[in-house]
Each structure stands twice: as structure tokens, then as C-alpha cells.
Amino acid sequence: MQRIGVFVCWCGSNIAATVDVKAVAEAAKHEPGVVFSTDYQYMCSENGQAMIREAIKEHRLTGVVICSCSPRMHEATFRKTAVSAGLNPYMVEIANIREQCSWIHKDMAEGTEKAIILARAAIAKVHLNAPLVAGTSPVTKRALVIGGGIAGIQTALDIADAGFEVDIVEKAPTIGGRMAQLDKTFPTLDCSACILTPKMVDAAQHEKINIISYAELDSLSGFVGNFTAKIRKKARFIDETKCTGCGICTEKCPSRKGLNDFNMGLNTRGAVYIPFAQAIPNVAVIDSAQCIHFRTGKCGLCEKNCSAGAIKFDQKDEILEREYGAIVVATGFKPIDASAFNEYAYSDSPDVVTSLEFERIMNAAGPTKGKLVRPSDGKHPHEIVFIQCVGSRCTEDATKGKPYCSKICCMYTAKHAMLVREKYPDVKVHVFYIDARTPGKNFDEFYRRAVEQYDVDYIKGMVGKVSVEQDHLHVQGSDLINNEQIHINADMVVLATAIEPDPTARALGTMLTASMDTNDFFTEAHPKLRPVESPTAGVFLSGVAQGPKDIPETVAQAGAAAAKVIGLLCKNELTCNPCVAHANEALCNGCSQCERVCPYGAITYEDKEVRSPEFRGIKRIAVVNGAICQGCGACTVTCPSGAMDLKGFSNSQIMAEVDAICR
């Protein structure tokens, strides 16, 4: 039998005005197991807590019931009080007689009666409480960053600078990501490569950073602090340790028809290639689907010409198994496929390009060496139309496009317009926009410069149709300010296509059991207060994987995610939530139903020897990993035999509360 103390708080007049606290304390005295009951003005005050501590010692209390405000308010306070008096913190129960009683009822008799019932329920529950001890689990002091774009690189650098090992897994042959494809960056117009490539080099040279390029996460097990990842390092058919990146193979390769992904398919590359000059690692890769040797068994020119002997046609995918304490998702984005918007003739004319394609055209290292020419005939364009919000801000029920604002398009379109006017003052530039969204430091000034200084023709309205005519594109759109429909004969049309999460994100989310929204962006643990953490413990978010953002925001978030990771990796061990599920071995059938509903993958099965009146021998039994379990209780209800129960909210505890209320 427990020895229970009941403490009824007045909360000044907050409770005492509508609840007769003395009557509650008196009624509690008559409940079984209650050896002490009292009331006080402010239980949470230092004096009130001292009173609780003394009573615990004096009356050798084994359980404490506080009738006070919501447990969401002071449960932690009173648990600490109990601990300081030598009682297990989980032997404290709160009866919420303020928010859920005194504050909602006006009648004293009614309020008092309900408060007594709530106190009884808490007493009934505490009778069945058992001391709980939070377990601990060790922390592997290494982080995994998935994605080697600017988000991943920055996160890795910050974590590594704090002294922890970091692995970057990048699915492409080189790190750098989307930022490496950009020409200039807004709002400063400094060259993207000039600010990114030093960071790439820093990452490559950092002794704590290990770049695993051309690789993807194959599977993941474990939990916060203790993940085990299997990483598939795809065969690049090049010995990375030997390749010097001299590029001779890429020149000798006779198969020239592969589309150059880095240049958004605007030109071609060989079957063996280095994505771009500053690639890291600066190592070639062979596209086996394109390579003549892989298709016919002949050729092998690259092998013959490689003085380093780095070509390895027999290389196989390799699986690396590594352990991590934390995982950062930095999988980034891709532009949506513009061909769904056939009103803009993207599929019909090479002169209709997406902004990222335009970025490559304007880039000195791009397919045109930075010279602005029409893709169709290589001629200099005289009039360019930019269309914003292509596929952004559509409704959920629209047949195509995304419901969100892609956030970066207004600014990069202003940048493109400005760059064109700067380099080629003879080119007329029109921008169709719905709203020019420029919240950001120096962003609106930048946009205004495009309008005022560079005379870019901003038209508030949208293009309804682009039609391909003999030697130009006919653009028909509305000008809402002038209330007219306008027709422009343009040489090029640039579509500011929406961005969407990288297509690998969804599968990754499933693998990490990290939740995602309907657009496949990773969900943050709290949209305001925990924006860089996933609800899954130990998984953190960096960059556009979480939602559209520009480079400065991405870098800021990357740093924030790194700080969270460092905070985790600093710890030698993690304290677990003790209110977790556990299976009664004698009752468990091993039927696997609990495993199916567990959102965290906390349940596994073991064959164990069991000796109970009903069963003797070896049987399959559910085992809950207390470090992963978050205590939702989904398993307890799905369990047919009642073997699965939840500590702190056990079947018998909840039923005791029900009984006390329905008495």
C-alpha cells in the first residue's frame, strides 16, 4: 500500500475562489492510502515546496498528489521537489483543478465536487505508479550529412570545426550542388563559384570531413545517438586514389552524345567526364549506360590514355557501413519540369528556357562560354521576356504546379534582367510578375535598381500564351496596371520555374522515419521554435530540403542545424524518456502487430526463453528499445493480449482513473 500525501493549492484566489480547497483536502483524507492532506496558498512557491519536502520525509510518503494548475505548468517543478526529498519523480501526479476546474466553473459547490473527483482520480492513479528511472544511451560522436550542396557543406564545416567527424554523402560525382551551377548571386552580384569553391576546398581539406561522393544512403537503422547507416558508393569505374583529374580521358572519349547534366542538358559531354572544372573530388566518372566499352566490350580509349592507370571497368558498387550520432538532411531541390506548362511553349522551342538553364547560358564556364545567344540559332537576342511564378503559387487542386511560393525567383529574375542589361544594353528586357517579393536585406533595393538603373520593363500581369513564330516567339500577356493586353515579339523567353524537393527526398524520409509535408519538404519539429530539427530525434534539417530558401538563409540554417548537432554530439550519453512501452514476456504472442503501428521503429522481436504458467520454452517476443520509444502508446492498443503496456500511463492506471471518475 502506498503512503500518499495530497497537497491542495489555492493558487491565491485562482482556485480558492470557486473551489473549497479545505473541503478538497478533507475529502482526500478519506481516500485509501492517503496519510497526509493539506492546503496552501501557493504550492509552487518556495514555502509550498518546502512543505511538500517536509511532509514526504515526515510521513514517509511514497506517492504525492498535487491538486493545482495544469501539469503542463508545474509538473516538472513538483517532480524536482519530490526528487530533492528523496522520492522518485514519477511518483508525483497532478490533479488539474485550475485550468480544468476552478477557471471554468462559477458555482462553488460544483467546482468543489469536481475538484474532489479529480483528486480521487489522481490518488487512484498514484496508487499504481511505480518509480521510473530514465535510461541512458551512448552517443556516437560522428555526424552524417546527406547532400553536398551549400547547405550540406556549411553544416559539415561548422560541425567539423567543433571537432566532430562528419561524413558528407553526395549522390552526384561532385559536391557543390545547385549553387555550383549559378553564375552570379543576388543581391551582391558576386560570382557564385568564387564564394562556393573555396568552401568546397575547405570541406575537402578538413581533417574531420570525409566526402563520400557518387553515393547514396541505402538503409538506416538505430536511433538518436546510435544510427547505423549503409551507404552505397556507386561504381564510378575510376580508381579515385589514382585519378589525378588531368581530364585526358574526357577529351579522348569518342562517345560524345551524353547530355551534360551540369549544364542542364544544353550541351553534351563524353561518357567519361568530370562534371566541372572545380569538381571535388576532381576525379572522372564513367557513365556506363553511355560508354561504348560497357555496351560493346570494345573501345577502352580512356584506359589506354590514362597514364595514372585509374580506369577500372570492373569496379562494383560498394557498401560502406558507418555509425553516426546525428543525421543532417540537406538534399536540396530541383526546378520542376517546365514542359507541363505547354502554354509557354517550353517543349516547342529551344529559345524558351528555364532560369537555371539561363543561368548556365550566362555563366562563363557554361555551354556558350557566357555569351548570351539564342539556343536555336546562336544569334544575339534583342528582346527577352522573363515570366515569374511558373508553377509556383498554384492551388492544391490545380492540375499542375506547386501551391507554395518558391521564394527565390523574384530575386534571381531581377538578377538575370540586370545582368542582361549590364552586359548587353541593346537588349530589351521585360519581366512579367504577379508580385515582386523582395523581403531580405538589400533585396528591395536590388530589385529597384533593376527597374530604375537598368530600365528593366516590369509588367504587373501574367503571360497567357507563348507561340512559336517564324523567327521569334510571340508573347501575349496582360498588363494589369495599364489595363491592356500586350503582345511582344521576343527572341527568348525565360521561365522562373518553381523549385521542388529533390526526388530522392521522399524515399529518404521514409528511411529516416522523418515526416514530410504533402510537397515532400521535410517537416520541422516545430515551425517556429524548432525549425532545424525533424520530429524524429537525431535527424536535423538544412537548406531547401525543409522549404524554399535562398543562399544566405540556407547558410544560416546550415549553421543552426550544425549547432543542434554539436549540442547533441557533445553529450556522452542521452537520457531517455522513461514513460515508454514495454512488453510483458509472459503475455506477448510475438504477432508483430505492434511493430506495424510504431512510428519510430522502436520495436523488434527476439526469440527468448520464457517460463510462465501458460508457456514454457522459447518464443518470439516484442522488445521495445527505450531509447527510441517516445511513449505514444499506439502499440499498447493494437496488442491483442494486453502484453504491451506504457509506463506512466498503464492500462491499470488509466482504468483506475476511469473508475474514480465514474464512481
Binding site: 503475455l587 508483430s592 510462465s612 508457456f615 520454452g617 493494437t638 493480449s641 492500462n651
Partner: protein, 323 residues
Amino acid sequence: MQEMIKERVLTLINEGAADRVLAWETGEFFYDRTPKFFDKNNVNDLKYDSFCGANVTKYLIAEMPKEGKTIVLVKPCDSYSLNQLCTEHRVNREKVYALGVGCRGKIDVEKLRTMGIKGITAITEEGDTLTVSTLYGEKKVARKDALLDKCLCCKGKEHKGVDEVIGDSEETSVGDKFEMVAKLEAMTPDERFEFWRGELSKCIRCNACRNVCPACSCIKCVFDNPKSGVDNKAAADDFEENMFHIIRAYHVAGRCTDCGECSRVCPQGIPLHLLNRKMIKDINELYGDYQAGAEIGQRHPLTDYTLSDDEPSVVHERGGANA
């Protein structure tokens, strides 16, 4: 067919593919067929005929700790129960050789009795006709009129996931299996309450339904566990009669293959399958057609969800007039 089965079983055992067989033997009366394990020494006593209505798959659970492999004879409908038991890891499929046996519906002697045929001494069948020998002479009965209720909503002639099939099967279902459920749904709540009070008050808590049910396979049932808060050995009042059957139906919801054994064995003739079938009908209507045990490894509807599931208030909204 019985002889072919015996021969095949013997061959399998002699070849070392299995060690024993789970099938039926004759019980106290000539038409009783009781589950039994045979080895090669007594396999000759194995019976398989039109009286083998019982579903024997549940007996495999206790067999699992034993060494070796067990052959189990399964009718098409039994194969669903076997798969469900494997899904729930109660039976290890690798330790079982599932031998499908042909079935054209099983005979319910009780039905003959309710036709007024008394003093039955033997039953022979030829085609679609049964010849019932009684103390008072012979009677001819159409086979379809003497089938078990569960055969009237047969799950089809296909064995699901068995290793081998001997003999042909026929589908014997007549009409819509949800007809009676729909009829109850159409009643007013008070009429339904009266109907179920009338039925459930007959319950004597013999636990036959629980013991025969392949889904009720817990090592220790909640009703036997004093800590579960619902334990009781006998129904002391109306509520407990209700409670037992509600909880039982709920526990098997999504896992029940609708094998109909609960109603078959109920000594009081309570149509227990109507509770399970209601759950099945709801699942089909709300979460899409689902047949428990159709294959191994299925995720049953109550351990699954979609983002757009109906709200529980759908129960209140359906058939609004009877609210």
C-alpha cells in the same frame, strides 16, 4: 479422395519432407470429425470427407516448438486462417507443409435434425443428393440444403498459398454474405439492442467460440488475466455478456478471416459471426476491400491508415434515419 490424401501424406513422410500430419479422425459419433495429429504409423485412421467442417489450423500453434515439419490439411477457407496465423508469426510457415484438399461444402448434421430427420445412423452421398439412413428408414435430402452455414458464404474454391492441392473444390456460396448484417443495420437502435440482448443473453461463457477461433490465439487471453481489468470467467450480468462479445469481436477485427467457426461451435446457437462480419463489412466499406489471410504478411486495416480516412462520426451519419 481420402485414400489419395493418405497415400500422398505417407509419401511425403517417407520422403522425409514431413514428420506428421494434422487432419481429422472420427469422434464419438459417425459424423464427428475431430482434429488429430497422425504419424506414419496411424495415418490410416485419417478421415477426410463431407463432415470435416472443422478448421484445424489453430492446432499448429502448439506444434511449433516441435522438431520437424507438419503437414496440415486445409480446405480453401482454412488456407486463409493458416496464412493469417503465419502473418502473425503464430505459425512458422517453414515448418508447415500446407496440403490443400478439395471441398464441395461440408455437411451440418444439425440441419438435418432441424428438418425433422431423427435417429440418423448413416449418411451417404451421391452427386447432389444425400441419402440419410435413419432408424425409421431412408430419406433423400438435397446436399445444398444440408450444408454448414459457413459454406453458404464460401470464400471460393481457390486455396491461397498452399504447397499442393489434391482434389477439386466447388464454390458453395449463395447470395450476399452481408445480407443479415444489412438487415440488422436497417433496424432501429432499440430493435438492434433487443436482438442482441436476446442472442447474447443465451451465452453461457463456455468459451467455445474463443477456443476454436484461429484469430483468438493469445497465449493468455485478456479475459483470463486479472490485471487486464476485464477478466471474468462467467458473465454475471447483461453487461458482461455484451462486453465479452464486443471485446472479442474487436480483438479479431481486421484479423478475422470470416471462417465462421465461432457460430458453428456455439452450443447456444448465437450468430456470433454476425459481429465479426459487421466489422468486415465496415472495413470493406470504409477502408477498401480486405480479406484477412489472403496472403502472408498483409498489414491489416486497423494497423494501417490513410490521410483521408473517414472521421468516426461517419458511424453516426450512415443510415441517418435510425439515429
